[in-house]
Symmetry: none
Subunit: 230 residues, 2 copies
């Protein structure tokens, strides 16, 4: 058997495949407990270590979760769900609105938790945004987003930082289109500089209230423009 295969695949990989199939096909629905390792070893015809490694691989893929003393449980039945693709499908205004909700609160947190390093990074990002005034729309939007990302980073919550990062590609798309469509930089190549400076200053001072208020006003204005431009 398997004469045609150039490489006989390791037993672990075969076990992973067989287990994954049975999970996606609903033999073990989400929430149920899998048979014990020794049982699986017998039914699959392999050693217990092999079964354990196969289960680890599935755990790494996010399909199962082991709880010592209790068993191995199915926690998902589909390989993955791409959140960035989900955002791409959504309306820009919806994405931007959520970004606003998140970032305004993040700014409040940042004003309370920022370190001297954060403040330095913020000022550097503000300067970079000014320097990008000479460049094209894409580069300017990138610098703008980098400044906002620096604020979020100053909140010191890894989940928050990663969440914002998820939004970046879609925001970038929408903002570049907006700048181009409305000619926002026609007369002033560096729009919103004063607002951003005031905002950075509020975070640096630790004034959570002002930081949230200024940022919300700025983002709401852009959101209105996005709604109008649709």
């Amino acid at each position: 058997m398997a004469l045609g295969a150039l490489h006989r695949s390791p037993l672990v990989d075969q076990a992973v495949e067989r287990l994954r199939e049975q999970i996606t096909e609903g033999r073990w629905p989400v929430g149920t407990r899998l048979p014990g390792e020794t049982t699986l070893a017998k039914t699959l015809g392999v050693g217990r270590s092999t079964v354990r490694e196969a289960l680890r691989a599935l755990a790494g893929a996010g399909l199962v979760q082991a709880r010592q003393g209790a068993g191995v449980f199915v926690i998902a039945d589909k390989p993955a769900e791409d959140w960035t693709a989900r955002l791409r499908r959504a309306a820009v205004t919806d994405v931007y609105e959520v970004r606003m909700l998140v970032e305004v609160q993040a700014a409040r947190l940042a004003a309370r938790r920022r370190t001297p390093d954060d403040v330095a990074a913020l000022h550097a990002a503000l300067e970079a945004r000014r320097a990008a005034a000479r460049d094209g729309d894409a580069a300017f939007v990138d610098a703008d987003i980098a400044l906002h990302a620096a604020v979020v980073a100053a909140a010191h919550n890894p989940v928050l930082t990663d969440l914002f990062a998820e939004f970046v590609p879609r925001l970038r798309e929408g903002l570049i289109a907006l700048v181009d469509l409305l000619g926002l930089r026609a007369d002033d190549p560096n729009p919103g500089d004063d607002v951003h400076a005031a905002f950075v200053d509020a975070v640096a001072r630790g004034d959570a209230e002002a930081a949230g208020r200024v940022l919300q006003a700025e983002l709401e204005q852009t959101l209105d423009r996005l709604r109008g431009a649709r």
Copy 2:
């Protein structure tokens, strides 16, 4: 050591974390070979089988690939994981904090946009939460989360709704553990009922300010408890 849960994490998970870090931080760039199993076992201070399982988990996540006789090679340096997997790896407190930021703002939006149908759904969810006071901790937490999800839904932003849904599994886990650990329902089987009622009322009245304030106070209290229970 406090990898992010309320229980001690297994050695395998710790090994996975340490290896993942070093990969994402560029110590072993894409394409390079990792040290051998025995070497890793010595440097990580664990047994060989533990290292093997950790490597399997990373392989399942798509970060490395093993070739018999040759070694284990890095094939990607960024997680490429879906968002729920990311949340599962994060600290409960970090996840909860972001949830708080998002939901407080969502509540403000909901107070402005809620329809009569939304209000009816909110009242139904509140009743369901009261009815669940008789049930076990898991059922009660489910009812509680369902109420909060109903509020987010009333904001009428599909991205926001889906985002909250991503948080649910991790929140559920953490909250059930918290309720159990602190015995929150020991004397009162329906804790926080008055606060939730006031909150639903504020949204129904369209009082965005009150809705945000009440919810923030409630969530902050729980967050403090989570931080203390760690």
